[in-house]
Amino acid sequence: MKTNYRYMKNFIFTLIISFVAVSLIRCTEYPIDEDGLLITGRADCYISNFELLGSDHQIVRSGAAAIDTTELTVDVLVLYGTDLKNLYPQFTLAQDAKLDPKVVGKVDFSDLDNPKQYTVVSGNRKVRKTYTVNVSVQQKQ
């Protein structure tokens, strides 16, 4: 009976220690940011692909977007007649990175003198790179 009691005590003690250890690991290794996204150890911070959709959610770019990760620019040529006031940009980012500001709907790209800027924030939330998206419209030759 005495032996059983000792075993039980040891078992509960081990359980508590394990629980505390797991909790600590969870809190230190996988924190969550203000958007509820996982903060990881990744420092990668770049745009890997860029897409632009029109009001009918069809692709409006003419050719691939040129992404310069050194100059931090995205240059995209859109089809003749594209309505720049009602476009839906789509960004593909480095793993675990996020975009600021978030894209939540249509975006007005019509002010060509003041191109839109988007900041990529790395997975560890320590690196921020601001890209400028330059949109130009295909012209008659």
């Binding site: 029109g54 009001s55 009918d56 959610h57 069809q58 089809l79 003749y80 007649g81 309505d83 006031k85 009602n86 295909q138 008659k140 030759q141």
Partner: protein
Amino acid sequence: MRIKYGSLLLLLGLVFVFAACDDEDYNVPEGVRNLTNDCIKRSLGPNVVGNEIAFAYAMALPPDLGNLSSVRVEASIAGASGTYLEHRSFYTHNGGIVPSTGEVREGGADIGIVVGAPSVTNGKVTEVTFVKDTCAATLRYYYVIPETAKGQSVTFQFSATASNGQSVSYNMGPYEVGKIEMKREIVLTNNSYFSISDFEVYDETQAAANPDKIDLVYLYRTPFAGINFGHALVSPGADSEFLPGVTLPQGVNNQTYIRKDSGSRDQHLARDRYGIFVDDVDLYEIDLSTQPFYSIGLQNESGAWIETADGKYRAYLYVNLVDNAAGTMTVSVKRLLIE
């Protein structure tokens, strides 16, 4: 101990077996001994003037009590021309030879058997008189929504009578009819002018005589100057860059908002394809104030949301067919008068 438990278990099993084996008298339930009826609405989507609301009305009575005599449908608002009640009762064919016609049909085919005289419609009432001795039938009713029903609700009373004097009835509705108006398969020819307010296509001379009515110019241009213009709807008041080769008649200058949309393929306009319906509320709520005055590169099955320059009408236009060789575009349009 183990043996005792075994015996108890065996005893319990026997009790269950004997209890389960008790014979119970079973009598086949008696069928309904009178004329009965049922009805379903077959058509889906919003109710639009000019469109049909379809029903299937079923009625039956035991054969020894007599036959069906007549069927009658009364609508609360008289249907438009084309409203009728089928005089055939349909069944789903299993495949092979159809006994009534002798022709070979695939399985699943809808086969109609004539059971009555063609329907007669008089105002709100449509009737079929049975000519075959039948005690069960399902007749389809097609109600063409009239202009007078726009914005109102409509109800239906289906009724059947049998040769033994019995009668039954079934009420359906009310069904709200939208204020949307619709016109299908409008053929636009190259450089023609289109009016949302009257659904008419005008040539240059007619447009000059009705400048206020012209909301859109239809253009088809083969690739030029390195761009693909294709089939386009352009407001007369748009930048002249988007009206290549067009000299607008005097006074034709409305600025109509257009938003291209390839996802809202309306089933009414696309003739029973797709599962989307553009309804009154869609046109009431859409904001087109930031949209351009043109839409180029329209293709088959694409569409556009439109608001006239005076804000009086909003519309959804569906492209049924573009014909590059003929330079034409066939469109179907739903419009709503914004009050």
